[in-house]
């Protein structure tokens, strides 16, 4: 992906929608592209990680013990809580279609928030909106975020 395409993909995500494009370019430059085949699990329940994934294309399924919590497509993100406070993943995430992801590390988000503390408000807002959406849908909130 070109840098500008990565920026556009990140900007689609609520978490980064308020980040100015030029600053988002710095974040996009550190992101890792991950291609996942259908049926492959890229987040395992219980794994302790400190990264989040942005879905650029394709679809992913959030599930645990046979229960599906959500299916997410382009412009979604999974693992936001882990990138803020690393801990064991509370659900697994598996690609439904061939999926292209951007992986962002905690250290990058830490630096972004240190540079622009006011963005923390946007992060909180995005997380709350996400929780509310999931609550309305009757899903297990944290499972989708972790």
């Amino acid at each position: 992906m070109m840098l500008v395409e990565r920026v556009a993909a990140l900007h689609e995500v609520d978490l980064f929608s308020a980040v100015p494009g030029r600053m988002l370019a710095s974040v996009a430059a550190t992101a890792e592209e991950v291609t996942v085949e259908p049926g492959s699990t890229f987040i395992e329940h219980g794994a302790v990680e400190d990264c989040l994934y942005v879905v650029v294309s394709g679809r992913v399924r959030v599930h645990h013990s046979g229960r599906v919590f959500a299916e997410l497509g382009a412009g979604s993100s999974v693992g936001e809580l882990a990138v803020l406070v690393p801990g064991p993943r509370s659900a697994s995430v598996t690609a439904v279609d061939s999926t292209l992801l951007l992986r962002l590390r905690k250290a990058v988000l830490d630096e972004l928030l240190a540079d622009r503390p006011e963005l923390a408000t946007e992060v909180i807002r995005a997380l709350v909106l996400r929780l509310r959406e999931r609550a309305d849908a009757g899903a297990d909130d944290s499972a989708v975020l972790e």
């Binding site: 070109m2 840098l3 500008v4 395409e5 920026v7 556009a8 900007h11 929608s17 100015p20 494009g21 030029r22 600053m23 370019a25 710095s26 974040v27 996009a28 430059a29 550190t30 890792e32 590390r105 250290a107 990058v108 830490d110 630096e111 972004l112 240190a114 540079d115 006011e118």
Partner: protein
């Protein structure tokens, strides 16, 4: 973990001790000291080659694999040497073994130090590395004790190699156990962060800090080997036979390591804790220099055969080894921690592994030349004095650079500027597509990604179209971009539009208008200041004030002049907005408010002064008073919190007060030592990774003056237990014991003006039962 590393160091020391006693005794008896300089040259040649090979290999292979392989080969070599000496009386094998000793010594410490660097953080290394090295000293001492009775037996000297080989096997086993127990941390190959190219080794080695480390190591080795040569030379002159020489060497080894152990056990850790790397790096060369000067005086006055000179030479070696093991190794190992993780071990291998052999080689050439020229012992000692002077100078420079290197390490960033390449055809097409999108968010993002006014001029037609878009969040940024290209019509239209939209009843449109305000819009200062009081426009207004720079300062000064003892949040935000103004102007505007009664406002003032880069010299006295007052308030809050007990609203409020004081101390330090440097420290102190936090604490230790450190460190080091921090402050800000009722009364009345907080007073009233929860 520390015990395992100390055990490794023990068997390593045992093996090294037996190797040096046996090989030097056999070599000196067979060939005499005149060939020693040539062994030094061989050490340089082989040592450099081996170190270069290790530096290359550890960039691609896990450290334990490399260590186990090399130490296993060394063990086999010891067995072979024993066989050659026992079966064929091949004394020639003592020459390669003598060459091998200093190389193995350095390589072994690279392996042990490398593991410590992965398993401990920078401050733990400073505290625990002397303990690890004490294992080496005990092993070396044990080697001397084992050697003494064995040397009396026929063939006993040869037998030392067999014991050394067995110790080597134990070293390999301990390396294997450590690798298995800490597989995750030790098993990684050091790689550069994703997406960043890995710098070539020669570029890493050419940095000023690494060059100084190398100079220190080279001069240290040169000084040490000059002194050791003088010791061997004088010992060979006093003890004629191999057996008597070996007896002396084994007893000397025992004495040397006993002193080294005593120093490690009693003095090393307290000295490092109290004085840090300052003493760790500088003490060794300074002490050896003093001994070298005394040796020179003794050699010229009492003669080269005198007992006084021999005693001084032996004492110099003992002091050198005690200081090296006690403080220097720990300090140098600590100093490597400022290098990026992915390159640390490779650099350490070259600096320690190759620096020492090269120094020994140069020393060998110098000594060989001096001997060939018939130089006296006094001349050799004089050369040693010169080397020690250079070594001491390198130590001072290295310590100064260490502080700078720490800050550079802390400022190492993942987020770097990543400009979008509009010259790239596909990128340009993508941006055009975004600019033409119906989605306002995509258009705004594209406008933001256009790099600069000059480069955006190519998009003039497209920008003009967007400037006529009905959506304010699209046409305003487009107008701003057009105005930046120098389009006069766009500039006039922008000013008029902004002025109109600032009066719009919709706060989101007012925020868009504020975002379009540039440095030239000085006549809009009042409107911007007003917008600062409205939550919906507050962020945009603060950013706009920042862009207005110096033009906003008179208005800010006027607001501050009217400020009461309890300023509003808007006033605090106003102060924060001065950060982009010129340093002198900001200092003039904010200086009177550094010691403001309201601590939040004071924090904003300090933060703004630091961000603007104001000169701290003219405001030094105010900064000193503020820091001392905050330290006193810190002890007061902490003491009261202990009296009140945990869990209450008041205890929570006092905790918040401690946090406020921490932020004020960091802001004050940022004014004094630089916003970028202290900002990096503050970010890392908050970090949840031990090694980063430790690096930040180490930076504060070496950056702050003692006067600032004693007051500020207890306030900012939240990673340390509170009682310990209060103990540190006890001398400068003593805590007065008091009871709960007196505490509450003091907060409620605030007769001395210490507390200055309505919230604390409210919590105290609630705590004392004057008010009840609704």
């Amino acid at each position: 973990m520390v015990r395992l590393l100390a055990a490794q160091a023990f068997v390593f020391g045992l093996s090294g001790s037996l190797l040096v006693i046996a090989s030097s005794a056999i070599f000196l008896a067979a060939y005499g000291s005149k060939w020693l300089p040539l062994t030094f040259v061989a050490i340089a040649l082989f040592g450099t080659l081996i170190a270069a090979w290790i530096a290359r290999v550890v960039r691609h292979r896990p450290l334990p694999h490399v260590a186990i392989l090399i130490e296993s080969v060394v063990g086999l070599f010891f067995f072979g040497a024993w066989a050659v000496l026992t079966l064929w009386s091949g004394v020639w094998v003592s020459a390669p073994l003598l060459v091998l000793f200093p190389i193995l010594l350095q390589v072994g410490f690279v392996f042990i130090g490398g593991q410590a660097g992965r398993l401990l953080d920078v401050q733990q290394i400073r505290i625990h590395f002397p303990r690890i090295v004490s294992g080496f000293a005990v092993g070396f001492l044990a080697g001397g004790l084992v050697a003494t009775p064995l040397l009396r037996l026929p063939g006993g000297t040869n037998g030392l190699f067999l014991i050394a080989a067995i110790a080597q096997v134990a070293f390999v086993m301990l390396l294997t156990v450590t690798a298995g127990r800490f597989a995750e941390r030790l098993g990684q190959v050091e790689r550069a962060p994703h997406g960043l190219p890995r710098p070539p080794l020669h570029r890493l080695l050419s940095s000023r800090f690494v060059l100084l480390l190398m100079a220190y190591q080279v001069l240290s080795a040169a000084g040490t080997y000059m002194a050791e040569y003088i010791l061997f030379d004088r010992a060979a002159a006093r003890f004629a036979s191999a057996d008597s020489l070996a007896q002396f060497l084994s007893r000397f080894t025992i004495a040397l390591n006993a002193v080294s152990l005593a120093f490690l056990a009693l003095l090393a850790a307290p000295l490092l804790r109290r004085f840090g790397l300052r003493i760790g790096i500088v003490a060794n060369p300074a002490v050896v220099l003093v001994f070298a000067v005394a040796m020179l005086v003794s050699a010229t006055s009492a003669g080269p055969e005198s007992l006084a000179l021999f005693a001084l030479v032996a004492s110099a070696r003992i002091a050198d080894v005690a200081l090296t093991d006690g403080v220097t190794r720990a300090s140098l190992n600590t100093s490597f921690q400022v290098l990026p993780l992915e390159d640390r071990l490779a650099v350490q291998s070259v600096v320690e592994g190759a620096g020492l052999p090269m120094a020994i080689g140069v020393t060998g050439v110098v000594l060989f030349a001096l001997r060939t020229a018939g130089a006296s012992v006094a001349v050799i000692i004089a050369v040693t004095v010169v080397v020690c002077v250079a070594w001491t100078a390198a130590a001072v420079l290295l310590y100064r650079d260490y502080a700078r290197a720490l800050v550079v390490a802390l400022k190492h960033r993942l987020l770097r500027d990543a400009p979008v390449d509009v010259e790239h055809a596909e990128t340009a097409a993508f941006l055009h597509e975004m600019l033409g999108s119906d989605d306002g968010r995509a258009v705004r993002l594209a406008l933001d990604l256009l790099p600069s006014a000059s480069e955006a001029s190519g998009e003039h037609g497209e920008l003009a179209l967007l400037a006529d878009d009905p959506r304010p969040d699209v046409y305003l940024p487009a107008l701003v971009r057009l105005a930046e290209t120098g389009d006069g019509e766009a500039q006039a239209r922008l000013r008029k539009t902004v002025r109109t939209l600032l009066c719009d009843p919709d706060s989101s449109i007012r925020a868009e208008a504020l975002a379009a305000i540039g440095p030239a819009d000085v006549d809009l200062v009042d409107e911007v200041v007003t917008a600062l009081e409205v939550p919906a426009t507050m962020s945009a207004a603060a950013a706009a004030l920042g862009r207005l720079g110096d033009a906003a300062l008179p208005r800010i000064a006027a607001v501050l002049a009217e400020t009461s003892e309890q300023p509003t949040p808007a006033t605090v935000r106003l102060v924060r907005a001065t950060r982009a103004a010129s340093p002198d102007q900001v200092a003039m505007c904010l200086f009177p408010y550094i010691e403001h009664r309201d601590r939040e406002l004071g924090l904003a003032v300090l933060t703004a002064l630091a961000a603007a880069g104001a000169d701290p010299a003219p405001i030094a006295a105010a900064l000193d008073r503020t820091l001392r007052a905050d330290a006193e308030h810190f002890t007061r809050c902490a003491a009261v919190r202990q009296v009140v007990g945990a869990g209450s609203e008041l205890a929570q409020a006092l905790g918040d007060e401690l946090e406020l004081l921490r932020r004020r101390a960091l802001a004050l330090l940022a004014v004094r030592y630089g916003a970028e440097e202290i900002g990096a420290v503050a970010n890392r102190l908050d970090c949840d990774t031990d090694d980063r936090r430790s690096l930040a604490a180490e930076t504060l230790d070496v950056t702050l003056t003692p006067a600032d450190a004693v007051l500020a460190l207890p306030l900012v080091r939240t990673d340390l237990p509170l009682p310990f921090r209060l103990q540190q402050l006890a001398a400068v800000a003593p805590v007065t014991p008091t009871d709960r009722a007196a505490v509450l009364e003091d907060i409620l009345s605030d007769a001395q003006g210490h507390w200055r907080s309505d919230w604390l007073r409210a919590c105290a009233a609630y705590e004392s039962g004057l008010v009840v929860r609704a």
